[in-house]
């Protein structure tokens, strides 16, 4: 990176961190630290909710996923607006009127201690692991740019977030997220413009879309129903609805964001804003990935985007075989480029048979380059069975650092960092809230002073920060990070949502029944995932409905003295 890029990167990050610390000065009690004194307006709530969900993974893995798999991932978010409505109607009034710090406090009021503790434990486990993966994403960026060992870059990117989250708590998180999202939106539009601008002069935005579309990269909607297809319209609306309902309704990293709203109305408006903007934003991110794909039809892409793994194979006994594959890949790419030109001519002349003919030839040529890439990854595995053979997380980064102009590279790298900082900060803050409110305050130190709880919250933030850094050090083995985070969430969210839905909608079910139901269902969900029973989004639906059904049945058959707490 150039000096100007470094300057843009360092100044942006430093400004955001100092701004967050300045805005959160004077935090004196646990309410201020965990809920920002419940004084934030709706746009703060909305942007904070969006920034919490949009991590660095969104901006690194999202375009990479679209590059290799097309736009179909956008369907994953179709259930989100519906989930926002249910949360506005049911969850927000209950949480706000009960004046809770965490979502799990409500479970003790509705059920009993053990159900609250079990749900809070599931949350801590899931969120602790997810936040670790979130820290890993910007560490990849630093490692790739600087060539430093990823252990040091992980320590750095985790450390900087711990610093301002420990100092300012939720206030720092929310105020920094407001600025972060503004810069992120501006950067996204700029990146989309630049990709189109870098295409050959005779290829405009529409031609770029035609090329991507004919190569099956604009597959935004798939109406075909299949239990094992990860992303289609139905899994997105139904499975996505349950996943998003669980994430926004029961995950403290999100509940903690909209509890900061100064009224029920302001919290609701924040979520409505999220419901309206999320799908367009995600579509734009994925579209950038497909445009980068079109860009690489005219420019020779690397045979493998992860430079670290390329360096390793080039310095191994397989270097000659790798060089041969690189040369084959370059030849295949040149042939493919001819077919791309044929396709563009056919599209411009609106000759349908010529378009079909060029499309078939192009897809065949594309398959050839895909096969060579598979041979490369096989070679890497042969050299080292533990090699990281999934390079989708590196595709967008490689494009940005190689082709974007000076200044913009620094800004886009800053965006990746800011996104990571926003979601990591929310994650750490929610982990600390749950640890202190749901465990420390209830089980360890029941009648301590406000100062003691504030201090405990800060120490909990540090402790979870260190835990997440350790997780981040192992996150490289998980493949595409955006999928890894969502799969991890789906393992726990269904059960957690089932507990809350039982609390809201099955008024006759009591604590013991729902506790055992949740325990059994969680074991089943883990089993279903290990045996690949169905695509992961459906685990949310199955988990939620099974908990409700089983707790209803257990309520009927358990002896009354056990069912009633």
């Amino acid at each position: 990176m150039s000096t100007i890029d470094w300057l843009v990167l360092v100044v942006t990050i430093l400004f955001i961190v100092l701004y967050g610390i300045w805005k959160s000065r004077g935090t004196k009690n646990i309410k201020g630290f965990l809920l920002a004194d419940k004084k934030l307006p709706w746009y703060h709530v909305g942007l904070s909710v969006m920034a919490t969900q949009a991590s660095a993974i969104t901006f690194l893995s999202g375009p990479g996923l679209a590059y290799s798999d097309g736009l179909r991932f956008v369907q994953f978010y179709f259930g989100l607006p519906l989930a926002m409505i249910v949360i506005c109607i049911t969850f927000i009034p209950i949480f706000k009127n009960l004046n809770v710090y965490t979502a799990y406090e409500y479970l003790e009021k509705r059920f009993d201690n053990k159900t609250r503790s079990f749900t809070a434990f599931l949350f801590l486990l899931q969120r602790g692991l997810s936040t670790g993966i979130t820290i890993y994403a910007p560490a990849i960026v630093l490692s790739s740019i600087l060539g430093f060992n990823i252990i040091y870059t992980t320590l750095f990117s985790g450390g900087i977030v711990i610093l301002y989250t420990v100092y300012g708590g939720t206030k720092a998180v929310s105020h920094t997220q407001l600025l972060q999202m503004s810069i992120i939106f501006a950067g996204l539009f700029l990146a989309a413009y630049m990709v189109v601008h870098l295409l050959p002069s005779d290829i405009g935005f529409v031609e770029a879309l035609h090329i991507a579309g004919k190569m099956n990269k604009l597959n935004a909607i798939d109406t075909h129903f299949d239990w094992n297809n990860r992303y289609n319209l139905w899994s997105g609306i139904i499975g996505g609805f349950f996943l998003q309902l669980s994430y926004f309704g029961t995950d403290q990293s999100q509940v903690g964001r909209y509890l900061t709203g100064k009224s029920i109305e302001q919290s609701r408006l924040g979520l409505v804003m999220n419901g309206l903007l999320k799908i367009p934003m995600q579509f734009l991110i994925l579209l950038i990935g497909t445009l980068v794909f079109t860009f690489y039809q005219y420019h020779q892409p690397p045979v493998f985007f992860n430079h670290y793994e390329v360096d390793r194979i080039e310095n191994s006994i397989y270097k000659n075989e790798f060089k041969k594959l690189e040369s084959d890949f370059a030849n295949a790419h040149n042939q493919k480029q001819q077919h791309v030109n044929e396709l563009v001519s056919a599209v411009n002349s609106e000759n349908k048979s010529a378009i079909e003919d060029a499309k078939v030839k192009l897809q065949k040529a594309d398959q050839q380059t895909t096969n060579i890439r598979k041979e490369v990854t096989a070679l890497m595995e042969k050299n080292d069975p533990d090699a990281d053979t999934n390079d989708t997380n590196f595709i967008f980064l490689s494009f940005v650092t190689t082709y974007l102009p000076v200044g913009l590279v620094g800004m886009l790298i800053a965006i990746i960092f800011l996104a990571s900082m926003g979601s990591t900060a929310s994650g750490l803050n929610s982990l600390a809230s749950t640890t202190v409110v749901d465990f420390y305050k209830r089980m360890i130190n029941k009648h301590a002073s406000e100062h003691n709880y504030l201090s405990a919250s800060r120490w909990a933030t540090v402790g979870w920060g260190l835990f997440c850094i350790v997780v981040a050090l192992y996150a490289g083995k998980l493949g595409n990070l955006i999928e890894a985070v969502n799969i991890l969430g789906s393992l726990f969210y269904g059960t957690i949502l089932g507990i809350f839905c039982t609390a809201f909608y099955l008024k006759k079910v009591n604590g013991t029944a729902v506790f055992y139901a949740a325990l059994i269902v969680e074991c089943f969900i883990i089993y279903a995932w290990l045996t690949e029973l169905t695509a992961f989004l459906w685990l949310n639906v199955i988990g939620c409905l099974l908990v409700m059904l089983l707790s209803f049945v257990l309520q009927k058959i358990l002896p009354k003295n056990k069912a009633v707490h």
């Binding site: 736009l71 409505i85 506005c88 009127n97 579309g213 909607i221 109406t223 109305e265």
Partner: protein, 38 residues
């Protein structure tokens, strides 16, 4: 507790209808987009 009204569209139900309408429009729009460019 009396429910606060939203600042626009009169009632919360109208606001939720807006969210659902935008979702439907987006899905139809993306469907046409997919078909057109494939």
């Amino acid at each position: 507790m009396q429910e606060e009204k939203p600042p626009f569209f009169g009632t919360w139900n109208n606001v939720y209808m807006l969210v659902i309408s935008v979702l439907v429009i987006l899905i139809i729009g993306l469907y046409i987009f997919t078909k057109h460019f494939s």
